[in-house]
């Protein structure tokens, strides 16, 4: 290893790191940012990219450089230098990754606490998954004069929402990619996600957990509107007095054989 070799390796490695980070940050990875939570998660992802690129480049630089520099000439029967290890180096490559992942874990924890935080003036929406459609029941609360059920949900922009998610048959997963949030809908459990929608317009709702024949068609949309428009819309909904949690859902009588016919219809819009 001459001084020139080191310079070459470090320069190329440095350039590749910078180029890799720039490239990774330029890529438009995510769908639209539909909620405040999405911004935090996207930033977290950028940080993960910035930490990851140098590690990958480091490994690749040393591999490629070694192969280029120490590749055996044809007929070379010699052995390499018998280096059995280097304690300092080994301590370094235990310490630095430990620090990095600890940092990332703490950062991840902080973001997690933030996005799951209970906020005042939260709009409660009960979500129910059923093969192969989502249905919603919005109980009476501020801005909602009476409880109603719907399959075409609207949400007010800027008001925190809590989805209380249930399932009436198998496991589904309630995912709104624009909000970056999902939670399984589990029979017998109530799961929650909290989100503050920030972007007007329709956002996809996708089932992310394999739930049977019609799994890939279990897609709907939620529309985010201005708070005023939401209150108008909520006021116009026909009330559903039902007290049961599954009021919005048809009685759980069908079997999977029936479900097959539902799947042919496609997404319930």
């Amino acid at each position: 290893m001459t001084r020139r070799d080191w310079a070459l390796m470090l320069t190329l490695g440095g350039l590749a790191t910078v180029a890799g980070i720039v490239l990774c940050l330029m890529i438009d990875w995510f769908p639209g940012q539909g909620a405040d939570e999405a911004k935090q998660i996207d930033t977290l992802y950028d940080v993960l990219l910035i930490v990851s690129v140098p590690i990958f480049v480091l490994v690749m630089t040393v591999v490629i450089f070694s192969v280029w520099k120490w590749r055996a000439k044809p007929g070379d029967m010699s052995d390499g230098e018998p280096i059995h290890g280097n304690t300092l180096l080994e301590v370094i490559w235990v310490t630095i990754p430990t620090i990095l992942v600890t940092g990332l874990a703490v950062y991840g924890w902080i973001v997690l606490d933030d996005i799951e935080d209970r906020k005042p003036d939260t709009l409660i929406v009960n979500v129910s998954g059923q093969q192969f459609a989502w249905s919603f029941r919005v109980p009476k609360q501020a801005g909602v004069p009476k409880q109603f059920a719907t399959t075409e949900l609207q949400l007010p922009r800027g008001r925190p929402v809590e989805f209380d998610i249930r399932s009436s048959d198998v496991i589904h997963s309630f995912w709104i990619p624009d909000f970056r949030l999902k939670s399984d809908a589990v029979p017998g459990l109530k799961t929650q996600i909290r989100v503050k929608p920030s972007e007007l317009g329709p956002h996809d709702i996708v089932c992310a957990e394999l739930c049977g024949l019609g799994h890939s068609t279990m897609r709907q949309t939620v529309r985010v509107v201005e708070p005023k428009a939401f209150e108008d819309w909520a006021g116009k909904q026909k009330g559903s007095g039902g007290s049961g949690e599954q009021a919005a859902v048809a009685p759980d009588t069908h079997t999977l054989a029936d479900a097959a016919s539902i799947s042919k219809v496609g997404a319930v819009q």
Partner: protein, 641 residues
């Protein structure tokens, strides 16, 4: 008379007879029990198939002859003295018998598992054909769900896990200087359970209602509520799991008790360390998946309520039990590959493995930590929230021993004399892609990001970077590396390199873009997708077909080289470990004389260093004629510089 004798002797005639016998027993049990209870109808198709799925494979194992010795012994009859006729193979027919030779069993394992690998790969390409455009093209959604379920199950339970057992079966006894595995008959039984498991999974396609279609994860309550095909998975896994556990026990006993004199734990090659640690994982973890599937079976067939929340069952419990096996299973599928890479990198870089002891310690660390991370698969499952952060931390910590391994292989290259043989190319390709898979693994461990990308194509990309770019590339590296030892022939180096480059390029163009569509919002396990993902999916599908075609080069190379490749020398790679100090292929009983281990396994470049000696030097064939490829056959201790 001759025919009656053939029917009575172990072999295929008796095995063929065992099928109707097994089905008859299964049917008989069901009818008898239903008659006793007064159930109507007496013939219940689902019940009969379920019981037959247990009785028929067992009857087959008896028929083919796996239990003959033990039955005689148990019944007090005279056991047939071991005449070693079950050792070695002289024609292809010998591979279709119950054979107790670890080398024959190793090849049985490898060929069988590659058979299932090809089928599972074809299923993947059929899925990619379906996904080449949104909407429904070739297969019904139910068939599609079946395809990815069977694809994953075969790849995991019938390819990656057992092919490593196959390679280790062949290599480990030779590496530690043992004449065979500790329990050769158990070894044969372990092998013969596998084709049964695979056959059951394949036959599920013929079940009414189609094959099992709940993913290889078979989450309850979907799996307790689907047609009969699910039973084929539930019970197939039991046979694959039993095979896996028996083999692991065999490895543990072999490695602990049968090492050559002088081979301390700190003189074991890292492949032996890798299989030792893997076997610990298998023995401790596999009973959990057996349990989870038995619970599903009982819920389906016996009316228990493990996962029926309406009757006090707990849906999330399934996932805890399942992942308590299935996360360690990822390491079961990775650690043996780590061992292969250590052998290949040190021999081809002509250098001792950098930080040998840390390499062994990091394997142990992965075993321990591997049992503390299972719930990172469940961050959005609705489990109690407090468990998520500890699981995120342990998941990230497991990157540290894994990182040690990556950095140590890379440091082993430093100042080496690097021979870019086909196994070395696969090893370096592995390091590249496994690093990427590790990085996406760290990302998945960060809970807020995982909430977005779990159950998406990002996870599909990650798992294929880890299990194809990771495990399967190490399998290719290992097969090319030990091909001369196993067959006594050299493979075609140019075709091997072509196979590597095509695999490497098309692997990345197939699975790389899946990261993008996953983050962008495409869920996994869907037969149909939103229009916006079309372009990317077309690209992925075309890449996957080319990727599939590149495998044909490997197949052609292996078959033609095995039949007519140039004869291989005992030690074409000039490696130090013991398996290379005997002829290629090795003698039927491995060693005419048990070697004595006198030093570490990777003392390349150390003047006069030897790993093992045979007292009678003349008998050691290592110093014979030069090898036709991959370098000369110089005796390992000599430094020719």
């Amino acid at each position: 008379m001759a025919f009656a004798a053939k029917l009575a002797a172990p072999g295929w005639y008796r095995a063929a007879l065992s099928f109707p016998v097994g089905i008859g027993i299964g049917m008989g049990i069901v009818v008898l029990v239903r008659a006793l209870y007064g159930y109507d109808p007496l013939f219940d198709g689902n019940a009969i198939v379920t019981v037959c799925l247990i009785s028929t494979p067992l009857a087959f194992l008896v028929g083919i002859g796996c239990f003959d010795y033990w039955f005689r012994w148990a019944s007090g009859a005279a056991t047939i003295p071991e005449d070693h006729s079950g050792h070695g193979a002289t024609s292809w027919r010998d591979y279709f018998k119950v054979n107790t030779d670890h080398k024959v069993i190793g090849i049985q394992y490898i060929v069988t598992t590659f058979f299932f690998f090809i089928l599972a790969g074809l299923m993947a390409m059929l899925m990619r054909a379906e996904l080449a455009a949104p909407g429904s093209q070739f297969v019904e959604p139910n068939t599609f769900n079946g395809l990815f379920s069977v694809h994953a199950s075969l790849m995991i339970f019938l390819f990656i896990i057992p092919v490593f057992a196959g390679i280790a079966n062949y290599v480990v006894p030779l590496m530690i200087g043992a004449p065979d595995m500790a329990f050769p008959r158990l070894n044969a039984l372990s092998y013969w359970m596998l084709p049964m498991a695979g056959l059951m999974m394949l036959l599920s396609f013929f079940a009414p209602g189609g094959s099992f279609a709940t993913g290889w994860t078979a989450y309850a309550p979907l799996s307790t509520d689907t047609p009969l095909g699910q039973q084929f998975f539930t019970l197939g896994v039991q046979f694959a799991g039993a095979s896996s556990i028996a083999t692991a026990l065999n490895f543990l006993v072999t490695i602990i008790t049968m090492r050559a004199p002088g081979m301390t734990f700190w003189r074991m090659p890292l492949l032996v360390w890798a299989n030792f640690t893997t076997s610990l994982l298998v023995v401790i973890a596999t009973p959990f998946i057996a349990g989870s599937q038995f619970f599903v079976l009982f819920d389906r067939s016996l009316g228990t309520n493990f996962f029926d929340n309406g009757s006090g069952g707990d849906v999330v419990m399934y996932q805890h039990v399942f992942w308590f096996y299935s996360h360690p299973a990822v390491y079961i599928m990775m650690l043996p590959g780590f061992g292969i890479i250590s052998e290949v990198v040190s021999a081809n870089a002509r250098k001792p493995i950098f930080g040998y002891r840390m390499m062994a310690f990091s394997l142990m660390a992965i075993v321990l930590l591997g049992f503390t991370v299972w719930a990172h698969h469940m961050f959005v499952s609705g489990m109690f929230g407090w468990l998520r952060v500890p699981m995120m931390i342990t998941t990230m910590l497991i990157a540290i021993p894994t990182g040690i391994k990556i950095f140590s292989w890379v440091a082993t290259l430093w100042k080496g004399v690097i021979h870019m043989t086909t196994p070395m190319l696969f090893a370096l390709g592995f390091i590249t892609m496994f690093t990427l898979g590790g990085i996406s693994g760290i990302m998945l461990a960060v809970i807020p990001l995982d909430i977005h990308v779990s159950d998406t194509y990002f996870v599909v990309a990650h798992i294929h970077y880890v299990l194809f770019g990771g495990s399967v590339f190490t399998i290719f590296a290992g097969l090319y590396h030990w091909f001369p030892k196993m067959t006594g022939r050299m493979y075609d180096e140019s075709l091997g390199k072509l196979h590597f480059w095509l695999s490497f390029v098309f692997f990345n163009t197939t699975f790389g873009p899946m990261h993008f569509v996953g983050i962008d919002g495409m869920p996994r396990r869907v037969a149909d997708y939103a229009e916006q993902f079309t372009a990317m999916n077309v690209f992925i599908s075309i890449s996957s077909f080319l990727f599939g075609l590149s495998f044909l080069i490997f197949l052609y190379n292996m078959i033609t080289s095995w039949r007519g490749g140039p004869k291989a020398a005992a030690n074409p790679w000039r490696a130090h470990t013991i398996e290379w100090q005997v002829s290629s292929p090795p003698p039927i009983f491995n060693f005419d004389e048990i070697p004595t281990v006198v030093g570490g396994p990777y003392e390349y470049g150390v003047p006069g260093a030897v790993h093992a000696v045979f007292k009678d030097k003349a008998k050691a064939p290592a110093a014979t004629a030069p090898a036709p490829a991959g370098g000369g056959g110089a005796p390992p201790p000599v430094r020719t510089e």
